[in-house]
């Protein structure tokens, strides 16, 4: 049981993944987000070798649809996987194997694909896409955050009688560099989506400061001083 959305910012070309699930530490299993290549995420009963392989195939020039065919022939348990792939142009391929448990499915929207399993119903995917599209001019990480929140608010995981909480969550966004622009995580938490919102908001306050320490360290103020300034601003 998991719900995820792969999205692309048409304005900047940035790519990203927002994900939350009942399983622990899901962000540690999201290797398939590569700048200027694409995003590939395998979930439900994940095959961990899929995502790094998918990224390499897209980097070679294969389209998502062909990558998906290769996944199918490379994996005896393909029918238990749920997979979504998007390349840098926004082309999408998605697969929800019949072995996925509970309500499971995927749905494409403008610049995005939502997919999940063990969900209360298709309204969760609708909620994610609606959240993603609600403020299209915002930075991709904020759009992904709203997508996850939209899925949670539409009922999230479980059955109509038994809701399953989100215990881990993550957002990863790449731009043009070999390392992610944004990579925030909550690994073990009883309300992981709300906690991820808190981490993301906090991270955005530090983002420029951290970048400045990288590009112009001679001018960087000590971090405890920066934190004191943040506190003063809040008060």
């Amino acid at each position: 049981m998991t719900f995820s959305l792969i999205g692309r910012c048409a304005r900047t070309g940035r790519l990203g993944l927002g994900i939350t699930t009942f399983s622990l530490a899901v962000g540690g299993r999201c290797e398939g987000v590569a700048a200027n290549v694409g995003v590939c995420k395998t979930q439900a009963f994940p095959n961990r070798t899929n995502d790094p392989l998918g990224i390499k195939l897209m980097a070679e020039g294969y389209l998502p649809a062909r990558v998906m065919e290769m996944f199918a022939s490379n994996d005896t348990e393909h029918s238990y996987r749920q997979i979504a792939i998007m390349n840098r142009d926004g082309r999408i391929a998605a697969h929800t194997g019949p072995g996925c448990r509970g309500w499971a499915g995927h749905e494409e929207g403008t610049d995005c694909v939502a997919f999940g399993n063990g969900l209360v119903g298709p309204q969760v995917l609708d909620g994610m896409i609606k959240g993603f599209l609600s403020r299209p001019d915002d930075a991709l990480e904020h759009r992904l955050m709203r997508a996850i929140e939209g899925g949670r608010d539409a009922g999230g995981q479980g059955t109509p009688d038994a809701h399953r909480p989100e215990r881990s969550a993550a957002i990863k966004v790449v731009d043009r560099r070999d390392y992610p622009d944004v990579d925030v995580r909550v690994d073990v938490h009883p309300t992981a989506v709300a906690e991820l919102r808190r981490v993301l908001e906090e991270f955005k306050l530090y983002e420029e400061f951290y970048r400045g320490r990288d590009t112009d360290p001679a001018k960087a103020i000590p971090q405890d001083v920066f934190v004191a300034q943040l506190k003063a601003k809040r008060a």
């Binding site: 925030v184 981490v199 951290y210 360290p217």
Partner: protein
């Protein structure tokens, strides 16, 4: 202000990192691990393009010493960086730039580097090294955790106004695969090392289940049923 144990496991050949710092979301910067290639970490004033570049150089066959020279030659602010490089057989190069703030330094041992900056003193890296070396009987990831806990217990980070808390932490291990064997993070917490230990012990209970579920989905029990069996086991244990 960060302390780190970067290592290659002599038994398994895995590479890994244990790290804790006052900065938030430190796991974001730990992108320098690759199985059968090596382990790289740049900290203090991070240059984020260093780790991916260094991994590519290691993969090409360059020695850690030369990789470190390249990173320095490629960066007008190299004196602000603290860097460790370990290759796939455990050869090491490390550097604590003169412009690192506070007490900063590194200690190189057999297959590992303990390093940190804005620390309470040299005894912090010594304690990390000692704990890592002493824990030879533990699995690799537990040795990494023991090292950062020892760093914390030795006083950890110290800014101008005294002790600085750990607000984020991470432990990561890469082995044979292109994906991580373990990648666990605490991004924003008041006592991040304790929280990482808690998350790790919890995640440990699930690791075998997650692995098996991927390999053999047909027979996997639903996760909430698995969680119930865990709860029962905990009850019995109490």
């Amino acid at each position: 202000m960060t302390y780190t144990l970067l290592a290659r496991c002599p038994l398994t050949g895995q590479v890994g990192i244990g790290i804790a710092t006052y900065s938030i979301c430190v796991g974001l910067y730990c992108n320098g691990l690759r199985g059968n290639t090596g382990a790289v970490m740049t900290q203090a004033f991070v240059n984020q393009s260093n780790n991916p570049l260094a991994l590519k150089l290691l993969a090409q066959g360059f020695m850690p010493g030369h990789v470190l020279d390249e990173l320095k030659a490629n960066d007008p602010y190299s004196e602000y960086r603290q860097i460790a490089v370990i290759d796939r057989v455990g050869r090491i190069a490390a550097y604590s730039g003169p412009k690192n703030r506070g007490w900063a330094g590194h200690k190189v041992g057999e297959g590992y580097v303990a390093m940190g900056n804005v620390l309470a003193g040299e005894h912090v890296v010594d304690a990390m090294a000692k704990a890592y070396e002493a824990a030879t009987k533990l699995p690799f990831e537990r040795r990494l955790l023991a090292a950062i806990e020892a760093g914390r217990d030795a006083g950890g980070q110290a800014g101008n106004d005294g002790h600085l808390t750990e607000r984020s932490a991470a432990v990561m291990v890469y082995g044979d695969y292109d994906h991580a064997e373990l990648d666990l993070r605490v991004d924003l917490h008041e006592t991040a090392v304790e929280e990482l230990r808690r998350a790790f012990e919890e995640y440990e209970l699930y690791r075998g289940y997650y692995k098996e579920r991927s390999k053999n989905p047909k027979d996997a029990m639903p996760q909430f049923a698995f969680v119930e069996t865990l709860a029962k086991k905990k009850e019995v244990a109490q």
